[in-house]
């Protein structure tokens, strides 16, 4: 029973993600002006951004998932 459940989940994942083939980008390239603006970056400050994470890590118990990448228009 457990084996069948695992097989089923694997197949479901595979079929589900395969279905992504049909998904079209819902924000067209010509609609990405605002997203391409530098103010829409999740990490605008490079080394300065890394430093402030270091400041917090040294003084707080929590750690990880600081991000640091991403954002922008996806116009690569």
């Amino acid at each position: 029973m457990k084996t069948h459940l695992i097989i089923g989940l694997l197949l479901l994942c595979f079929v589900g993600l395969s279905g992504c083939t049909g998904i079209k980008p819902w924000v067209k390239p010509y609609e990405r002006n605002n997203l391409a603006d530098p103010i829409m970056s999740l990490d605008r400050h490079g080394a300065a951004g890394s430093y402030i994470h270091h400041v917090y890590q040294a003084r707080e118990g929590a750690r990880g998932a600081e991000g640091g990448a991403g954002g922008g228009c996806g116009c690569n």
Partner: protein
């Protein structure tokens, strides 16, 4: 466009566990089919294009001033592409520390030291797939840390989605000045990140990170305190005892929205939990407002709060009261606020030959930490009864001034 995602099982015993009593022939057949499917995914990825990080030199001067600590120094980050598929990077970072914090004053004498960190890394781009790896070394007179990382990122859905997975491994050597004390810490880090364009004006990010430590996790200079059995208005101290393992998980979600006028607002929440019993919540809001093409102002507010570790106490009833004993203020219950502002000025192309963009940035943050169960033992010139001292608090200014060249 990605055709599908599969799970590749390369361990035959695991395969048998999943698929029941299966022959090796079936295993290899299935494995071959899965390989073909993976190959088709990579072939599909070939149809897409991507870009490497921009070539740049980032020179930062940082300063932390507060809570008895003064820390400053340079941070230099360089990125350079080699051809169209490879970009290398490296950074050099120094913390010059002058320490007279409450931990130092309560347990030892003031000191100065320097921490130096260097790293080298490489990004390899194949169409929409970015593979990154790197090495970092950090050294101070009583601590050495080495780490390596590997990550892979992939853009999907017409570049609206980016998925990144990473793994890092670290090895620390914990020492103690003027002694031959030496202990090790091993660390493993697993990261999963998702960046998603939601609309033409908004995007979001989701990050999950699990960190596992094993080894000597104490700070060898710190001690816990307990009531003096001969006089309970006073306290004595002894060496802290930490567990030798720690596993933590942090989940963060971020949203960024382009306002109807040219400005953006970012909201962020992070939840953290670890095997020591610490739960933490971080909230941050950032507002960015450009003026023309050259000036950008920003303002941010951040709130951090956490609960104590299970084995934390400001003062224990007696020596060896528990298996584990700690009085690090970083393991107590407290709240931290940050109020920050910044200004950026960008020069356009042509100001300096071969430099596409020159950016000057000044960021100033005011930090305030208030502790709910960590007392200030230095208050009242040490004349107050043990356990009745006021709760500790401190504030600090963090300044970051940087110049960035993109070429």
């Amino acid at each position: 466009m990605v055709q599908g995602v599969v799970v590749v099982v390369t361990n035959s015993s695991l395969f048998s566990t999943i698929f029941g009593n299966t022959s090796k022939t079936l295993f290899f057949k299935a494995f071959f089919v899965l390989l073909i499917t993976v190959n088709s995914i990579l072939m599909a990825a070939d149809a897409m294009a991507g870009t490497l990080p921009v070539d740049s030199v980032d020179i930062l001067h940082h300063r932390f001033d507060g809570g008895g600590m003064e820390i400053d120094g340079p941070f230099v980050l360089v990125r350079k592409s080699i051809g169209t598929q490879v970009s290398v990077n490296g950074h050099y970072y120094i913390d010059s520390v002058s320490a007279a914090s409450i931990d130092v004053v309560a347990n030892a004498s003031e000191y100065t030291e320097e921490r130096t960190e260097v790293s080298a890394g490489v990004d390899f781009l194949h169409e929409k797939t970015m593979i990154s790896t790197g090495y970092t070394n950090s050294e101070e007179n009583d601590f050495v840390a080495n780490s390596v990382f590997f990550s892979i990122g992939q853009d999907f859905f017409g570049d609206l989605t980016k998925l990144t997975m990473g793994y890092a491994r670290g090895w620390d050597e914990v020492g103690k000045i003027e002694s031959d004390f030496s202990e090790d810490v091993d660390r493993q880090i697993y990261k999963l990140g998702l960046s998603q364009v939601l609309t033409k004006n908004s995007l979001m990010g989701l990050d999950i990170e699990t960190i596992s430590d094993e080894g000597y996790l104490n700070n060898p200079y710190r001690s816990y305190r307990f009531f003096d059995p001969a006089d309970t208005t006073k306290s004595l101290t002894s060496v802290e005892v930490y567990p030798e393992t720690r596993t933590s998980t942090a989940v963060a979600v971020r949203g960024l929205y382009y306002l109807p006028y040219r400005a953006s607002i970012k909201g962020e929440y992070r939840y953290f939990s670890d095997s020591w019993g610490i739960d933490a919540h971080t909230y941050e809001v950032l507002y960015v407002h450009p003026f023309g093409r050259q000036w950008t102002l920003e303002a941010r507010v951040r709130r951090y709060s956490q609960s104590s570790a299970d084995f934390y106490s400001d003062i224990f009833t007696h020596e060896g009261a528990n298996d584990f004993l700690a009085r690090d203020k970083e393991l107590s219950t407290y709240t931290g606020m940050t109020y920050g502002g910044g200004v950026t000025y960008e020069f356009g192309q042509g100001v300096i030959p071969h430099v596409n963009k020159l950016k000057l940035t000044l960021l100033v943050d005011y930090l305030k930490y208030e502790y709910d169960n960590f007392r200030d033992v230095t208050a009242g010139d040490g004349l107050l009864d043990a356990g009745t001292e006021p709760f500790y608090e401190f504030d600090a200014w963090v300044t970051r001034a940087s110049i960035t060249f993109e070429y």
